[in-house]
């Protein structure tokens, strides 16, 4: 475990850089993390994905897979990869402050 400071607040991260506690996350942190990851501005579709991932995580205990995202978030698989080029499930989950999704698909 390590710590990082996003938007002026110290948060706890696991070995892979995902939030230890999703409740420590704020939208301002997402903006800052995205920038560091090469996404200059989080657009509306980015936020659709981030909010959907958080909602799914708090409801089901794990983040959605890319397939579920593509089917139910309102953003297509193609667009997911354009929005989050470093791998949508992983990159979006990190920015959304939730653990890495567990599914294989």
């Amino acid at each position: 475990m390590s710590t990082a400071t996003y938007a002026g607040v110290q948060v706890r991260l696991n070995d892979e850089g995902f939030f230890e506690d999703p409740n420590e996350w704020t939208p301002e942190m997402a903006t800052e993390m995205a920038k560091a990851d090469g996404i200059d501005t989080l657009t509306d579709p980015h936020w659709t994905v981030i909010n959907f991932m958080r909602k799914e995580f708090f409801e089901k205990g794990t983040g959605p897979t890319v397939r579920v995202l593509g089917k139910t978030s309102g953003v297509s698989v193609k667009d997911l990869y354009l929005l989050f080029p470093k791998g949508p499930a992983k990159m979006a989950a990190r920015i959304a402050g939730i653990p890495k999704p567990k599914g294989c698909i």
């Binding site: 890319v66 397939r67 698989v77 193609k78 990869y81 791998g87 990159m91 294989c104 698909i105």
Partner: protein, 161 residues
């Protein structure tokens, strides 16, 4: 916790060869390619020999589990050879996969195309089976030679399935 050895560079690119045309021969390669893209790696899929069925417009919907010559099916060979056994096993397996949210092969190919992974058919096999580019689903970018394959695979890992 992660599984990566500290100090080791992550894999950046994979070239996955699918050489078999049975359900159990096709899925692993597709899952690995899709998973590679989801992790942000570059991924290319190469279909050779019977693996071409996975991208063949007419055959893609008729991929079956092999019930003969497959000891892990745990059914006697003679039973496995009865008419309808392969269809039954395929039906049971696809039902289970659907419950686990694993898409059917045609949908999976479409999804992998949407992830930006490349898909290619092997020229030698295409010629051998008298197939043409038009026989393949639209996600297939090209028919390429083994030399083209190695050029494309350079700088990454090659996985044969």
């Amino acid at each position: 916790m992660g599984y990566r050895t500290e100090g080791v560079e992550p894999i950046k690119k994979v070239s996955i060869i699918i050489s078999k045309g049975s359900l159990e021969g096709i899925y692993p390669g597709l899952i690995m390619a899709n998973g590679a893209r989801a992790e942000g790696m570059e991924a290319n899929l190469f279909f050779t020999f019977f693996g071409l069925d996975a991208i063949h417009k007419k055959r893609i919907e008729h991929i079956k589990v092999a019930t003969v010559g497959n000891p892990a099916m745990h059914i006697p060979t003679l039973l496995g050879g009865l008419p309808g056994m392969s269809a039954l096993a395929t039906h049971m397996m696809t039902k289970k996969m659907d419950e686990l949210d694993i898409p059917p092969i045609n949908e999976f190919i479409e999804m992998i195309g949407d992830t930006g992974a490349g898909m290619y058919a092997c020229k030698a096999s295409v010629d051998m089976f008298d197939m043409k580019k038009e026989d393949f689903v639209e996600q297939v970018q090209d028919i390429i030679t083994v030399g083209d394959f190695y050029d494309m695979a350079a700088g990454g890992e090659i996985i044969f399935t």
